[in-house]
Amino acid sequence: MAAGNTTVTREGYVPRLSFRQTVGTGFLALCMAGTMVGIVFLVVLLTDVWRDGVGFLRWEFLQNFPSRFPERAGFQSALWGSLWLIGTTALLAFPIGVGAAIYLEEYAPKNFVTRAIQVNISNLAGVPSIVFGLLGLQIFVRGTIGIGPSVGGGFGRSIIAGGATMALLILPIVIVAAQESIKAVPPSLREASYGVGATRWQTVWHHVLPQAFPGILTGTILALSRAIGETAPLIMIGALTFVAFRPEDLLDPFTVMPIQIYNWVSRPQADFHDLAATGIIVLLVVLLSMNALAVFLRQWTGRRYGR
């Protein structure tokens, strides 16, 4: 192209800037509306639950066991059942899930088998929870493969059976979250460690895991938050709806908060409906506390040595 011959036309542009700005404003309004839908429904839900449930919200509610009389009915067995169950689930799911993630990210060869495992883990995350309930019933409660102390070879309708089932349910989420955190550790950090003669194990243990830990923790706690609200698989494995004692042992039968809430809602008396609302408030407080813990732990573990 010969220099000087080209003529840059300054015509033919139709900027219509005010129109483009109007479209932009409309787009903004749509996005804000999308946000508002979520917020409005949450506020409606919370105020409704609060109005119904605040009447029964007192210490006795947390101390009493279920009762035929609404004024004496309480949440103690359900609250403790949930805490025991979540504790057991966490203890099982965390080490297994992190171990699987480390293997898949740091050790497994990138071949067909690994990819197949990867795809199946992702698929498992989408399996309905009731299916995990069936699996738990067969393996952990009845003990088809004979791992527990009960007559049938299973754990019976116990906390350990429920916790193991829940652990299976959230395992895919924990594995994927841990894998993402491990992937996010910069390769330069691994190289630095290998570069001074560290073995693979030393590199993973001293550098990759500490760096990935906040993310792994957050993912695990969010998965546990999902587990604490699950009902279907626990009904399937036979968690009881009326438990008048606090579980003291992994082999004790149990109930959990969502089951107790469901139980109250399904009764005809209006007072029990209000009790259910109170139960929901307690469940939400536990949930929010867990999420707050996740945020706190992420900040606290991430702050050391300024990242």
Partner: protein, 294 residues
């Protein structure tokens, strides 16, 4: 010495170029006199017929090179010529990448680091590495330097080792008041010197540097260059650089590499740095150093 390799390790591959039979691996080469006068001692690293493939793509073609002891050797060449890849063959760093295949041998003190009984971490303790971008661990300055020594079972005076390593890396005076500070809180140039301190804290014989100044400003670059020359009295240094002035300033020997149309990187010329820059033998070398391509 690379541990774990016994003197009578059987070799089917090319022996070291110094003419000593493979059976005497494990004996030092101090008594050996090479033909050319400048490198009277045996080379620290002997690269023999090394070829490398990333999957199906060949990246290095049959490179043979002797790296002199206690000297700075520069690897130069345009992007994609395989100089970083060759550097990483010297401490078996390439094997961390999936699908890499390496042929040929690399001898350090006469021992083949690709021998069947050699464990890569052992090689990497003898051959330290400094990377393109400073990559201190997100730990304290002290722990950055001490990590390598700890994992390699160092039982001596750790405080002394940390101080000595930081002094050798010309960083001690700037950080001695707060060794608990995060390594990431230092400036880029300081971080790179911390990485050098970390590399020499495990007492390597050879230090590889992969474009160590490319992320640094000119003043920090000069400090690293001075440091390279200081360190050459005790370590064998191999530096990959894009900066020809840097190669000319710091190195004793320079290797020029180039990838042909097949994208396979090959060694074009290897000689004294003065010779390469003032009177290169190969036309392509001359074209590169005069800036006509690359």
């Amino acid at each position: 010495m690379v541990g774990g390799v016994t003197g009578d390790t059987e070799r089917t591959s090319t022996g070291p170029g110094t003419g000593v039979a493979a059976a005497t691996a494990g004996v030092t080469f101090q008594s050996n006199t090479a033909e050319d006068g400048e490198d009277a001692v045996a080379p620290a690293v002997e690269i023999r017929n090394v070829s490398l493939w990333y999957g199906a793509n060949q990246a290095l073609g049959n490179v043979t090179l002797d790296i002199p002891r206690n000297r700075v050797t520069a690897l130069i060449g345009p992007s994609g010529c395989g100089k970083s890849t060759l550097l990483r063959c010297i401490n078996r760093m390439n094997e961390l990448i999936d699908g890499v295949r390496i042929e040929g041998d690399v001898f350090i003190d006469g021992e083949n680091i690709y021998g069947p009984e050699v464990d890569p971490p052992d090689v990497r303790r003898i051959v330290g590495m400094v990377f393109q971008r400073p990559n201190p661990f997100p730990k304290s300055i002290y722990d950055n330097v001490a990590f390598g020594a700890r994992i390699n079972g160092y039982k001596g005076d750790m405080d002394g080792l940390v101080e000595e390593s930081l002094r050798r890396a010309a960083l001690w005076d700037e950080v001695k008041d707060d060794l608990r500070k995060s390594g990431l809180a230092l400036s880029g140039g300081q971080q790179q010197r911390l990485c050098i301190a970390r590399a020499i804290a495990v007492n390597p014989e050879i230090v590889l540097m992969d474009e160590p100044c490319s992320a640094l400003d000119p003043i920090a670059t000069q400090r690293i260059e001075d440091l390279m020359q200081d360190l050459a009295s005790d370590y064998t240094i191999v530096v990959v650089t894009h900066n020809m002035q840097q190669a000319a300033r710091v190195s004793h020997r320079t290797a020029f590499m180039l990838a042909g149309d097949d994208l396979v990187g090959r060694l074009v010329e290897f000689d004294d740095t003065n010779q390469i820059f003032l009177n290169p033998n190969d036309e392509r070398t001359e074209q590169y150093i005069t800036g006509r391509f690359g």
